[in-house]
């Protein structure tokens, strides 16, 4: 490993904290009823959705080794479980883990 773990952790923390801190500072003068707030709300949801879609379609880490089809099947089935369970968050989450492990074990 070319860089020390200690410095990698420091740099990662700093890069993460900057966005949080700047967000906290620049939100001082923004009212929750303003158009700017609404716009940032949309940006936040869209950015999160983009991140989640990217994590599923172009993953990092171990998910790279799971086939594209298996990831899509797991996500679709989990959403079905989510709606069938009347929008419960725990059932589809647990289901997704079991389903992904089973698909990769047997197929």
């Amino acid at each position: 490993m070319s860089v020390s773990i200690f410095y990698a952790i420091l740099v990662t923390s700093l890069a993460t904290f900057i966005s949080r801190f700047l967000g906290a500072v620049s939100s001082q003068g923004i009212k929750e009823t303003s158009k700017l707030f609404k716009w940032f709300n949309c940006l936040a949801y869209a950015t999160l959705a983009a991140l989640i879609a990217r994590t599923i379609i172009f993953p990092a880490g171990v998910l790279i080794d799971a086939s594209y089809l298996s990831r899509i099947i797991v996500v679709i089935l989990s959403l079905v479980v989510f709606f069938v369970s009347k929008q419960n968050y725990v059932y589809p989450t647990v289901f997704s883990a079991l389903c992904m492990a089973a698909i990769n074990n047997y197929f």
């Binding site: 990662t12 620049s26 949309c42 983009a50 879609a53 989510f82 968050y89 589809p92 990769n104």
Partner: protein, 234 residues
């Protein structure tokens, strides 16, 4: 100081039936195992989670270390992937601002901004008086942060019992949980469109620039959703 009643009310949100504790804990178990496999010791793994407390950022750091990236490359890669925290902070803090609360609480608690805590706060802030929302938020943040640290600890020590299929199961759990929470939160035309457009545009922009795809997808998708929502209202 911090109002204990609202702090603990926030802290207990992690015990709710739809709490993110399971999903969050499992994801950080995967991170703990990953960091151990990368050569981190237990102190480094715990400090990494405590100081970063953002899953995609930790994953990017791990990937960058694996390919031998420089510190500057790690900084930029993490900054790009975690830049989403900026609009998340701006769309959350105005809900908690109160003139009688000291500023340090806001600067201190911005560290807790992460998807799980943010989504819990977004769906519960109306149940708390505005003056106490920051204490409630610090409670939620402390709870999710604790779960992340405990998850990393468990993952580090149980990594040898986790095979590849189990690691894959743990890795898919987080995006699925967040996806369900986002779908559940899509109650207005602006948020629904933001989620749909972000989901479509994020991967499309990946083909143009992997580093910028999340930001571009979020900014363009969110702006279009905002404009359509405003037109619809007027």
């Amino acid at each position: 100081m911090i109002n204990r009643q609202f702090f603990f009310k926030g802290y207990k949100s992690i015990l709710a039936p739809d709490s993110p504790a399971i999903a969050l804990g499992c994801c950080f178990i995967a991170i703990g195992a990953l960091l151990k496999n990368l050569g981190f010791n237990i102190q480094e793994s715990i400090f990494s989670t405590m100081l970063t407390y953002a899953l995609p950022g930790s994953l990017v750091m791990a990937e960058s270390l694996l390919v031998g990236a420089s510190l500057l490359n790690i900084f930029l890669a993490v900054w790009f992937v975690n830049a989403r925290l900026y609009p998340m902070a701006v769309s959350l803090f105005p809900l908690m601002m109160h003139k009688n609360q000291p500023k340090w609480k806001y600067y201190f608690s911005c560290h807790f901004i992460a998807v799980s805590a943010w989504l819990i706060m977004k769906s519960n802030y109306k149940t708390v008086p505005k003056k106490q929302r920051i204490d409630f938020w610090i409670g939620i943040g402390s709870a999710t942060w604790s779960v992340a640290v405990i998850g990393t600890f468990i993952g580090f020590y149980f990594s040898e019992y986790l095979n590849k299929d189990m690691m894959m199961g743990l890795a898919i759990l987080n995006p699925v949980y967040f996806l369900c929470m986002m779908v559940g939160a899509s109650k207005t035309i602006q948020i629904t469109l933001s989620v749909i457009l972000g989901t479509i545009l994020g991967p499309i922009f990946y083909f143009l620039s992997p580093e910028w795809s999340i930001l571009l997808g979020g900014i363009i998708g969110g702006t279009i959703a905002y404009l359509i929502g405003e037109l619809n209202v007027s």
